[in-house]
Symmetry: C2
Subunit: 220 residues, 2 copies
């Protein structure tokens, strides 16, 4: 049974992993006969956002690994312990947590720096020829990891011109893609899908992520 | 397009709504051509549990409505505003939040009292002949709502003898059911499925909840 590492970035679209996307990935991986193992960085979240008021909460701190454990039902490992030899593929759901906790793209745009443990995991998978799936805004993490190297990934974040331009600024190629489909970079074994960057509802999110998981497992 | 109210109880299996179950319900409702509208009570959670250590966090407080907004991507209404005329069906995902925030079943067992807004919503749907779906531990909420009345719902929580006995103590009938199926009480228009009370993985959870949503929509 192929084993897929899923990197979570908290729990909630505004300050963590987008919950519908993360659960869709776990569901699709399981339905397709693979198993998942969740990872998250053990560090303080960039911020805590009140998802009802859609506003940051001053003074509150939450930990990325601890909040990710909500989505993983307690079964989540510190990303510092990630060993590429243990897994066949890696998938990164979206949400602002991806752009605030897995890199600082939400703040720095195309000069973003990835979290060191995320960078190590993505580079190790690429070096081992194992596939990486990037959902929603997470292609910006992949682009940040390979910025300034000879690896020029072919990615999609859907059709948003600003984010697509940032990917090109970081040295990646951007390809437009519908929410219910995905883009496969065969050379680099990287698959991406727009999810809530383009999707109008959770059903489209699931369809696109299920396509991504299908292609990731083909490459595993 | 039928509209289904989904009552959330926070965000995370140990102190709120079980996230895989809640997302499975939202996904199934959408894939089956209906739409969802999320509700949650606006009150302090019974407790906050560190999902990594699986232990309560002393002194921390979170609000059920605010945390539920993480699952609902901000689109969640105060359950005090629930109007049964606006919806065609009601679904209640599980998680300890159901047994700690929607009722006090986790503390009181068969003498549990439901949250007053939850009780009002479930009674109003029943009185209007509109279906109610109860997932995982949430049949205990339904049983608590009708305890001491002439309504004797036919429910499942899977096969756990202790919880099944509590349902009977509360005046309900309990029927064993597999994780990938559901029990339909045609008389009372109540559908229930075991989800993580019995399921071995998220795929079984989705299959059972999708069956529940199918039956709930038939009754709507």
């Amino acid at each position: 049974m192929p084993k897929v590492a899923v990197i979570l970035s908290g729990c909630g679209v505004k300050d963590g992993a987008e919950i519908h996307e993360a659960v869709s990935a776990l569901l699709s991986i399981t339905r397709r006969g693979a198993e998942y193992v969740c990872y998250a960085p053990d560090k303080t979240q960039h911020d805590v956002v009140d998802h009802l008021k859609q506003a940051p909460v001053a003074g509150e701190q939450r930990n990325v690994l601890v909040e990710s454990a909500r989505i993983a039902r307690g079964e989540v490992r510190d990303l510092a312990e990630f060993d590429p030899a243990e897994v066949d593929a890696l998938v990164i759901p979206g949400g602002f947590g991806s752009a605030k906790n897995l890199s600082d793209y939400a703040l720095q745009g195309p000069t973003a720096t990835p979290d060191p443990h995320v960078a190590r995991a993505v580079r190790a998978m690429h070096a081992a020829g194992k596939p990486v799936g990037a959902i929603c805004i997470s292609p910006t993490v992949v682009a940040a990891v390979f910025q300034g190297t000879e690896v020029k990934p072919r990615l999609t974040i859907g059709s948003d011109p600003g984010t697509a331009g940032h990917l090109r600024d970081m040295g990646a190629e951007h390809v437009e893609c519908a929410a219910d489909d995905c883009i496969v970079d065969e050379t680099n074994r990287i698959v991406s899908t727009p999810a809530y960057m383009s999707a109008r509802n959770i059903a489209e999110v699931y369809t696109g992520i299920d396509r991504l998981v299908e292609e990731v497992l083909k490459l595993a």
